[in-house]
């Protein structure tokens, strides 16, 4: 049922990576509960621009929950209070008239703030470059059914592959650990015969890159899984641990 609500936003404003940030409050009137969270921020930015102020900088792209660009730590949860959705899929019907909504950037040493709510997540790209791929020789395309893959493995690999790399796991983790992301990326390949060949090298390379970039150590709190918009399971972390320990024992 559509209605309009009045809200107060408490948003983190920070001019640049080195500047000191602070919270600033904004009131918004007549926000439709049908609008998405990002549309509400668009309304705010339009208001700010009309008043001659700097708009709030935030990451977004596809706005349909698949690109992994949107972030935002809303009222104590990455991607907001709704379950298993990204911020762009969060709607204002989850909020009530008169609510004060606190919006913060991902806070982690691995994701430095660029400006306002936008953080630098290129660390994830560096981890992927360290080994999140399979080496293939170009040439004729092999037949898709030439290598049989058990259904259960294919399903689990597909579940791991739904990770969009948004970084909510790092944002939710009290240790700033990227283990859920790395484990999903290791699992999606380790479970399939094509990825199996380089599995040991991949696990070692991606994990050491993760450590090098200053992410923390997993203590199995499970906050990452609880906040993940794609419901990636922490059993992937067990698989990464297994792959890594096996690889190191073999060396």
């Amino acid at each position: 049922m559509e209605k309009n609500i009045n809200i107060t936003l408490r948003i983190w404003r920070q001019k640049g990576p080195k500047e000191k940030g602070a919270f600033k409050e904004y009131s918004l009137q007549n926000i439709s509960t049908e609008s998405s969270f990002l549309e509400m921020l668009d309304v705010l930015n339009e208001q700010l621009i009309n008043n001659g102020e700097d708009p709030v900088v935030f990451d977004h792209d596809c706005r349909e929950g698949i690109c992994g660009m949107c972030s935002l730590y809303i009222n104590g949860h990455p991607h907001g209070p709704d379950e298993d959705v990204t911020t762009c899929q969060l709607h204002m019907r989850k909020f009530n008239d008169g609510d004060v909504i606190t919006v913060e950037p991902w806070r982690s040493a691995g994701f430095p703030v660029i400006r306002d709510l936008m953080v630098d997540r290129s660390a994830f790209d560096k981890i992927m470059q360290a080994g999140g791929y399979i080496s293939v020789n170009t040439g004729g395309v092999p037949d898709a059914n030439a290598i049989p893959i058990p259904k259960a493995n294919a399903d689990e690999a597909m579940d791991a592959a739904t990770c969009i790399g948004c970084g909510a796991c790092v944002a939710a983790c009290k240790n700033g650990s990227a283990m859920l992301f790395v484990s999903a990326k290791v699992s999606q390949l380790a479970l399939l015969p094509q990825g199996r060949i380089e599995a040991a090298r991949r696990a070692k390379a991606m994990l050491s890159k993760m450590d090098e970039l200053g992410f923390g150590n997993c203590t199995n709190t499970g906050a990452c899984e609880a906040e993940c918009p794609k419901n990636i399971s922490i059993t992937n972390i067990a698989r990464l641990n297994r792959e890594f320990i096996k690889a190191k024992l073999k060396d």
Binding site: F215, T221, A223
Partner: protein, 220 residues
């Protein structure tokens, strides 16, 4: 050395020392229960595990396990706090799926260490250490039963021990399955099974300890 250099390696050290300490606690709890049934039986255990070479070697291994576990905990916590960054969240909510203990392992660990210090002073110092050094000639190092009766006979002390056991319970309900998870011995089916096993095992372990404290503090 990957056990020192990599994040998973450091956690493997935490897991193995943690599981080893759980095993030690299991033996310790079983021996304590003897005290409820028989004073002579308990003192026989004390004499058997006095200051023989094997008891001393065992003590050294257990101490090494505990020290490694604590040092790695401090080291990992330092790295984790640094990884979290300088700015903290203003509003942060614990998702309902996350156990309270899992986010407070260090605090619980510190309570456990304080308990260990008290416990070592009250028992180990007067028993094994006394037997080697003869520092307290008036205390018989093999009369463990009398020591328990005297120390836990004070209900306040019994309550302090019960609080200590509660902290161990919280620490282990998360620590047990978490150690298994870190060693990679987990999957979608076993995740909930290990959590259940953790809870049951830890509860039995802590009840075993608690029964002795309650018996000597409030019944005997």
């Amino acid at each position: 050395m990957w056990l020192l250099n990599s994040s998973i390696g450091k956690k493997v050290v935490m897991s193995l020392t943690g599981l080893f300490l759980i095993l030690f606690l299991t033996f310790h709890m079983s021996m304590n229960l003897v005290a409820i049934f028989s004073a002579e039986g308990y003192n026989a255990v004390c004499e058997f595990l006095g200051a023989n070479w094997y008891a001393l070697a065992g003590t050294a291994v257990i101490a090494a396990g505990a020290v490694l576990h604590i040092l790695f905990a401090l080291w990992l916590t330092y790295i984790n706090r640094r990884a979290r960054g300088k700015d903290r969240y203003k509003v942060s909510e614990r998702p309902k799926e996350v156990e309270w203990a899992s986010q407070n392992m260090l605090v619980l660990g510190i309570i456990v260490v304080i308990g260990i210090a008290l416990h070592l002073y009250q028992f180990w110092f007067k028993m094994q250490f006394n037997e080697i050094t003869g520092i307290l000639p008036e205390v018989n190092p093999h009369d463990g039963y009398a020591l328990i009766a005297e120390t836990l006979g004070n209900p306040i002390m019994a309550v302090i021990y019960l609080v200590w056991f509660a902290a161990i319970w919280f620490h282990l309900t998360h620590g047990f399955w978490s150690a298994i998870q870190t060693l990679g011995w987990n999957n979608k089916i076993w995740l909930s099974r290990w959590k259940c096993i953790s809870n049951i095992y830890t509860t039995i372990l802590c009840l075993g300890f608690a029964v002795v404290a309650i018996y000597f503090g409030f019944i005997a």
